[in-house]
């Protein structure tokens, strides 16, 4: 079976005023179906841009990104995307924000499912609150609930846990892992936290600095649940940190 996601010679540049900025340059990448892929790379290298191409929000300037052999299209594949920035609708309360995703996907029982996922991210009791009445971390969790609630085939997450404290984060990591292993999702997970990447990912794609391409793909061959103190864990972590270090110092 061919990989679910295949990027070939992918390039992307933007116009900024008079100059052109090249963000992704001839990037190749493939992710198998059901794989938990983590993506790490220096700040501003092009991770978010890659994610937007993955779900069809941006078109490549050159090369191709194919899912099931076709250009990405959320009308055909069901995505669950968690954006790096705040993407809640300020005029809807938490419950309706989560219901919105379900409604857009034409899923029945929206209310029931929404409540279930709000509970899952630990926000029971806040259903009637509006986004401006909750904290940064709570907002992120609502976005996570909204994306997971639609039972997506492909989950794309852009630093979903960045705003969460260590405990909530590890709780969420476990939830995500259990959803993934039970329901056989394909996940592309962008994170800054190498520790996190090694803890949950099957493969870690290390990106170079901008214009970015894949510097290395590291398969993490440890069974879940993983222990952060085990020697292979530490060695994977050090290896990836070392690769990133090269990128940042050459910045």
């Amino acid at each position: 079976m061919p990989p679910l996601i295949i990027a070939k010679g992918l390039s992307k540049s933007f116009f900024a005023g008079k100059e052109t900025i090249s963000v992704i340059d001839n990037l190749d990448l493939s992710i198998d179906e059901g794989r938990f892929a983590c993506i790490v790379g220096p700040s501003g290298c092009g991770k978010t841009t890659l994610l937007k191409i993955l779900c069809g929000l941006e078109k490549p300037t050159a090369g191709s990104m194919l899912i099931h052999g076709q250009p990405p299209d959320p009308k055909k594949q069901r995505f669950g995307v968690i954006f790096q920035e705040d993407s809640l609708l300020p005029w809807l309360n938490l419950l309706n924000n989560v219901k919105l995703g379900l409604e857009l996907c034409h899923i029945d029982n929206a209310e029931e499912i929404a409540i279930k996922y709000i509970d899952l991210v630990g926000l029971e009791g806040f259903e009637k609150y509006f986004p401006h009445q909750i904290s940064g971390g709570m907002k992120k969790r609502v976005a996570i609930a909204r994306a997971l609630a639609v039972d997506p085939e492909i989950i794309l997450m852009d630093e979903p846990f960045a705003d969460l404290d260590a405990q909530t984060r590890s709780m969420m990591q476990k939830e995500l892992l259990s959803i993934w292993s039970k329901l056989n999702k394909t996940i592309a997970f962008i994170t800054h936290n190498v520790d996190e990447a090694v803890f949950i990912g099957q493969s870690v794609y290390v990106l170079t600095k901008r214009p970015t391409k894949v510097k290395a793909t590291v398969s993490i061959d440890i069974d879940h649940p993983r222990s952060r103190l085990s020697p292979p864990f530490i060695s994977y972590r050090e290896k990836i940190l070392g690769m990133l270090q090269e990128e940042i110092t050459s910045l």
């Binding site: 069901r78 005029w91 401006h132």
Partner: protein, 260 residues
């Protein structure tokens, strides 16, 4: 707490209006022009017109009723035409390219200038609707476009990732996001609509309507009734505005008020 605030602000508002009326009384008493009525004279005119009626025998309530009816119809037609077109123009550059040369010319043309054409093109109530629509339509259209442009790209992107089609994006993201500007457009449009009532009723025919009342008495140089007509239009407008604002208050309780 918010209740008390509402109460206080109403109090300030009433005091401000009262001050306005007192200043008016003093100025007109000092000026003593035969054409500058005092508030007391306007009040007397109010008593007369609302009980006995005007020179044609119509009381104030008929005038208010007819004008209100015309404005409401014009307003309704303007809303159902301007909001969808505004959203489309905000969202589809092609629609904007096609429509805006025409709208951007027509929106400057005074309603009075339309009178001859509207008499030819329409009949009965449609003439009034057309002339009022001309006034109300464009503020709503422009404010709607401005609201659409305020829409956050991230929010639209979010909806797209859920496979939302254009219709759903407009309904669930763009429309609610632009709603504050649209509501503002309604308020501006309503004001311009009432501003056009004299022009619309200048067309003549039916002898009733607040605009007609003003015209009749302006021609007779009985400015007290003219000012009465102005005050009544202002107050009816105020009441309609209040209705829109209370809808707004319900819709926009999610908004954070800034203070400086």
């Amino acid at each position: 707490m918010p209740k008390l605030d509402r109460f206080r602000s109403t109090l300030i508002g009433v005091a401000s209006l009262a001050t306005f009326v007192i200043i008016w009384q003093v100025v007109t008493m000092v000026a003593n022009s035969p054409f500058l009525p005092t508030p007391v004279q306007v009040f007397e005119a109010f008593i007369k017109i609302s009980t006995i009626g005007d020179i044609d025998g119509y009381t104030l309530w008929w005038h208010i009723g007819f004008s209100l009816y015309r404005v409401l119809l014009g307003f309704a037609v303007a809303i159902v035409t301007a909001v969808p077109l505004g959203i489309l123009m905000g969202v589809k550059p092609v629609v904007k390219s096609v429509a805006s040369p025409v709208t951007e010319i027509v929106r400057f043309i005074p309603p009075i200038a339309w009178i001859p054409l509207s008499i030819i093109l329409f009949s009965g109530i449609n003439r009034y609707i057309f002339l009022l629509w001309i006034g109300i339509f464009f503020p709503i259209l422009l404010d709607t476009i401005a609201g659409v442009k305020r829409t956050s790209e991230t929010q639209v992107n979010m909806a797209k990732t859920f496979g939302a089609d254009n219709k759903a994006i407009i309904k669930k993201i763009i429309f609610p996001s632009a709603l504050p500007e649209i509501m503002n457009g309604l308020r501006v449009g309503l004001g311009v609509g009432w501003m056009c009532i004299v022009a619309a009723e200048m067309m003549g025919g039916e002898p009733v309507g607040l605009g007609r009342l003003i015209l009749k008495y302006a021609n007779l140089l009985q400015i007290d009734v003219v000012v009465l007509g102005m005050v009544v239009i202002g107050l009816v407008g105020l009441a309609m505005n209040y209705l829109i604002l209370s809808v707004e208050r319900r819709l926009f309780k999610w908004r954070v008020e800034i203070k400086a």
